[in-house]
């Protein structure tokens, strides 16, 4: 006891500042302690914590899922766009010989990158192989398919392709000239609108996350009013008092992002089977896959940013109002 009293006496000389750890390591150590401490606090109320991060998770999962969906469809559209080709269905009376001469002529042209002739026989074989209607076809007496020339335009601009299409349509050998691009363009416009819409939804849901975190932290601040007052009375700085609440917001963000990832990937897994079957029907190898690492990081980043910002808003508004009386 005597020793303790003696040590308290040293304070007169202002020795109380001695031994205060001011290094970077100490600073990080303290932050890390608060980080873990705030996680511990949250885990002591598992139910309400889980409720909060579940709400945040759902709010994050919704736009993420929609975004991924649109992204996948866009990818798919990209594959189709590359195969933008003009199909020239030849008149029935055009023989192989004449068709091949036509192809040679077409390849010469500058605005055409490639042209290939598919004879009625080849077309029939291909059709037999891929459609599964082999038996039916065998029953036919004559080949009903026309010869086709596939033309790959050199240009990518829709206008140039359209012009080329108009010219090819006037060739005497051509019965029908067909370009399957219109619907790709429509799809893209639709996707643009969808993406804009998702962005709006995402912004609204981000606002909702901010409000949820802000309100939860506000309640937390209210319930710890006495602690805040006492901490201020014994010389705790605003920064010190703010820290645990900010880290609580941080954990809400991290937790919400994880829940969102869980929900999105769960949905992707559930969709996997049906999508594969659908893709199979179209002869496509298309697969959904899970969220990429990049997506995981982006979602975590957004979650953390929203959590911190929500906490910052609540703390800025409410901590200042709590002063000793």
């Amino acid at each position: 006891m005597g020793d303790a009293v003696k040590s308290s006496g040293r304070s007169k000389g202002g020795a109380s500042r001695k031994g205060r750890h001011r290094g970077v390591k100490g600073y990080l150590e303290r932050h890390f302690q608060v980080l873990i401490h705030s996680l511990g606090r949250l885990s002591r109320n598992p139910f309400s914590t889980l409720m909060t991060i579940a709400v945040i998770g759902i709010a994050l999962a919704l736009p993420t899922g929609l975004y991924l969906l649109v992204d996948h469809v866009r990818d798919l559209g990209g594959q189709w766009r590359e195969t933008t080709r003009i199909s020239l269905f030849l008149k029935q009376e055009i023989g192989d010989e004449r068709a091949r001469r036509l192809v040679e002529g077409l390849i010469e042209k500058e605005e055409i990158e490639e042209a290939a002739y598919i004879s009625p026989e080849q077309a029939l074989d291909e059709f037999r192989e891929f459609s599964g209607f082999g038996n039916v076809l065998d029953a036919l007496e004559s080949n009903p398919l026309p010869g086709v020339i596939l033309v790959q335009p050199a240009a990518l601009q829709p206008e140039a392709i359209q012009a080329l299409l108009d010219r090819l349509r006037k060739l005497p050998e051509v019965e029908i000239a067909q370009l399957d691009m219109e619907w790709v363009r429509r799809l893209y416009t639709l996707l643009d609108i969808l993406q804009r819409g998702i962005l709006t939804v995402a912004a609204l849901l981000a606002l909702a996350v901010l409000l949820i975190v802000g309100n939860t932290i506000r309640l937390d601040i209210e319930s710890r009013r006495e602690e805040i007052v006492i901490t201020k009375l014994i010389g705790g700085t605003d920064g010190f008092i703010r820290r645990p609440f900010l880290y609580t917001g941080f954990w809400y963000g991290v937790g919400g992002a994880f829940i969102a990832l869980l929900l999105v990937n769960l949905s992707l897994i559930l969709l996997q089977g049906p999508v594969e079957r659908l893709a199979g029907l179209y002869g496509s190898e298309f697969r959904l896959g899970l969220t990429s690492l990049e997506m995981v990081l982006v979602l975590l980043g957004i979650g953390v940013a929203l959590g911190l910002l929500g906490a910052l808003l609540a703390v800025g508004r409410h901590l200042r109002a709590i002063e000793p009386e």
Partner: protein, 223 residues
């Protein structure tokens, strides 16, 4: 340590809690502040810790003029003051140890040093064996001793106590006073607001008497 120069405090609404109060508490001095409830004792202590600001006059604490002190400097001022409350104001969701450690934690002291200092403070108030208990499981006298340990753990040069024995019986009150005398003996300045005149009269310390916001009697530095 504390210098009041013609200090007045007027609360919004016009009531004057303190008017033209002047006194000086030397470093290492111990004094009592007395008067009826509402005489201005609490207001005076609040001015020292900048819970309230003076409406007029100058307050100097530990060499710092509080009149011009900004909001951001307040924590530093309070770290040099140990405050003891009538109702102890302990955190009930934390152990005795964690309560006492709080003033050290806010300064960012390392865990190892925190443990050493907290144990020393608890030893001083005779509660070393109760560091893992929660405040509600302790008696009033024990809770107040936890409050005192918290006030001195960071070795502040100044101790302020607002009716520290207000909720305790005479015997416990005397024990608490003995603790304050002990701190004073090792050089800590102590200012205790109390209306326990009997107890105060039995001790050889300076007494400042307030009445309706005025300092009507100052026994001068005794003891």
């Amino acid at each position: 340590m504390i210098l009041f120069d013609k200090v007045s405090k007027r609360y919004p609404g016009g009531q004057e809690a303190l008017s033209a109060v002047s006194f000086e508490l030397e470093a290492g001095e111990m004094a009592f502040l007395t008067g009826h409830s509402g005489a201005g004792k609490s207001s005076l202590l609040k001015l020292v810790t900048l819970i309230e600001r003076a409406s007029g006059g100058q307050v100097v604490v530990n060499g710092q003029n509080l009149t011009r002190m900004g909001r951001r400097e307040i924590p530093r001022l309070r770290r040099d003051i140990g405050i003891i409350f009538q109702d102890y104001r302990l955190l009930h969701d934390r152990t005795v140890f964690d309560n006492v450690a709080l003033p050290l934690i806010v300064t960012g002291l390392q865990r190892r040093d925190v443990e050493r200092r907290v144990r020393a403070a608890l030893d001083m108030v005779g509660l070393l064996n109760k560091e893992k208990r929660y405040p509600v499981t302790l008696s009033g006298g024990e809770q107040q001793r936890v409050g005192i340990a918290r006030a001195v753990v960071h070795k502040p040069p100044l101790l302020l106590a607002d009716e520290p024995t207000g909720n305790l019986d005479p015997e416990l009150s005397r024990e608490i006073m003995d603790l304050f005398r002990l701190f004073n003996q090792v050089g800590v300045s102590v200012l205790i607001a109390s209306h326990d005149l009997e107890l105060i009269a039995s001790l050889p310390y300076r007494v400042l008497t307030l009445e309706r916001g005025r300092l009507i009697h100052d026994s001068g530095a005794a003891g």
